[in-house]
Amino acid sequence: MTIQTSLATGDPVAAVAAPEIPVQASRGYWGSVLRRLVRDPVAMAAACVILAIVLAAIFAPLIAPMDPFKGSMVRRLRHVGDATYWLGSDELGRDMLTRLLYAGRLSLFMGVLPVVIAFFVGSSLGVLAGYAGGWINTVIMRVVDVFFAFPSVLLAIALSGALGAGILNSIVSLTVVFVPQITRVAESVTVQIRNRDYVEAARVSGANPFTVVRVQVLGNVLGPVFVYATSLISVSMILASGLSFLGLGVKPPEPEWGLMLNTLRTAIYVNPVVAALPGVMIFITSISFNLLSDGLRSAMEVRQ
């Protein structure tokens, strides 16, 4: 019993020296995640690519060499490497480089915004369903299951078709596609967390459910859900491009990668490289988002 008092503070030597040791601020969880993410070369490369594309889209009016809407009937479908049109020109003789830069604005917007909205709506629903349980869970999750019965592409097309073409309507329909997916992930993570001892300990401390969810549950649920949501950005971009390709999203002459892919498809035998460029942009952007979310996932794996 006498040993206990000296051992209580850890090892006695350190305890004596304690006042001289500067109080080390422990890195928070997110600090250590960021540190591990920065050390992941693939994730960092993907992040740089995304950053470059985002910056190029934002500053398109400053860096684009030409007007994205002004065409020239005599200079249609120039090849890549042309002296004036570096990346060629499209079927109406508009500069491809300019249009690809401008198109990034709408494509990124339509790729990211539905996922952001669905992240908030879906995690709220999922945490509610997972934590409340009982009939609330049953109602929410069965409705989610109904949405899961439809393939996401088909659901997006059907909703967009029903709502009518337009940017806003495609964002709405894409959000509706992603909410059930995020809800399901958030629900399953919440159910796992809810049964942890620390949540039960928090509940028996007499705290009200909102406090328990806010302090004990959310921090552990939002991480995995966030990773899942970032992986949806690429899907969202492809779906948004698909909607535009089908004429349900952005309307011409507005530049957007999916729409450009559509209008250029007639030229695929004449100038296949130029016709494929918007597709290449979609591919690079979505794979970068996927690699980044992959890196984020491994950086967030809690090690003891």
């Binding site: 422990s26 620390y198 928090a202």
Partner: protein
């Protein structure tokens, strides 16, 4: 120990906790739609805990120890039965759930799982007081006091995350967290079982000291009989959702009256090589709690089982002062051939 606590109502003679007919059946899974047969995890348990004592609870896995703890904490809801805390019925107007929980807290077995990995140690300890309306600064100050009291220097450990401290230190944090609401009853559910022996000893000493200092009452659940012997004033032995035997620790662990308790004691490996057992004191698994055997629940594994044991379930009867056992063999007039003779006066 029981003096000077303004929350004390009935004085030292009134039990702190009285459990009456506690029943918890878990609905089994089975069939396509219907619910299967219920698992009788806790099947009619009555006991009392006196103020300032430590009640040890022992039994093998699946006997209902942890379910009992969870029922006492109201993490799970009992199907039947009452919990009376210091003379007030839980759920009555005088004692609502929130008031009850402030006075009863629990330390879990898994020290890592019972701390939120995203919160620092001091945040975890301060959570309860804050939830009960203390300001952040006051809650943090109380957390620091408690951390210091359980032997963790708050300046060194307060800002750390659970994975940055050792298992023993984590369990100290859990104890501090449980004490943060100034409870009167602390339920320790296998609280030291996951720790290695030297750390376990330190934590047990800490618990003994804290009990003195704060006038606490413990329910100490463990499968380690040595630890229970060290900690407990009284011991309760559970088997298949029921109490097999309850009484003073010396009596239960010294002269057990229930053959199951005797088998538990005999199952401890002896340090004396000559006293080594050639035969297992108890063979087979406990029967399925979905369908407990009729009569005495232990008769399927009992060496002394007689006819009466298969037909009539023994009650928890007094066999010595303050010592109760649920065994026909120990009770006069039960019909068991080995039962003591009926005293003439009765």
């Amino acid at each position: 120990m029981t003096d000077l606590d303004p929350r004390d109502r009935g004085g030292p003679a009134q039990p702190l906790l009285t459990v009456d007919g506690l029943v918890k059946h878990f609905a089994g899974k089975g069939g396509l739609f219907g619910k299967g047969p219920a698992v009788r995890a806790v099947d009619g348990v009555d006991f009392t805990v006196m103020k300032g004592e430590t009640l040890g609870v022992v039994g093998e896995s699946g006997c209902g120890k942890s379910t009992t703890a969870r029922l006492l904490m109201q993490i799970a809801q009992q199907d039947k039965g009452d919990i009376v805390f210091d003379g007030e019925l839980l759920g009555s107007r005088a004692l609502d759930l929130k008031a009850y929980r402030r006075q009863v807290q629990m330390v879990f077995q898994d020290s890592y799982a019972s701390l939120n990995p995203r919160l620092t140690v001091e945040e975890s300890v301060a959570f309860g007081p804050k939830a009960h309306g203390l300001s952040s600064a006051a809650a943090l100050a109380r957390a620091h006091d408690l951390l210091r009291r359980v032997g963790l220097e708050p300046r060194r450990f307060g800002g750390r995350y659970p994975h940055e401290v050792s298992g023993g230190q984590r369990q100290r944090v859990n104890i501090a967290r449980a004490l943060a609401l100034e409870p009167r009853l602390l339920i320790l559910d296998e609280a030291v079982s996951a720790l290695d022996k030297s750390v376990e000893a330190q934590v047990l000493n800490l618990l003994t000291d804290l009990k003195q200092e704060f006038g606490l009452t413990y329910i100490f659940i463990s499968h380690d009989l040595n630890v229970v012997r060290f900690m407990s004033d009284r011991v309760m032995v559970m088997y298949l959702g029921r109490i097999a035997e309850i009484g003073p620790a010396d009596a239960i662990l010294g002269s057990p009256r229930h053959p199951y308790t005797a088998a538990l004691l005999a199952s401890q490996p002896s340090t004396d090589p000559n006293a080594r057992l050639e035969e297992a004191p108890l063979t087979g698994d406990p029967p399925n709690p979905i369908n407990p055997p009729p009569g005495c629940r232990f008769h399927t594994r009992c060496h002394f089982a007689a006819e009466v044991c298969q037909t009539r379930e023994p009650g928890l009867d007094p066999v010595a002062p303050a010592h109760f056992a649920a065994c026909h063999r120990a009770v006069a007039g039960s019909g068991h051939p080995d039962a003591p003779p009926v005293p003439l006066a009765a």
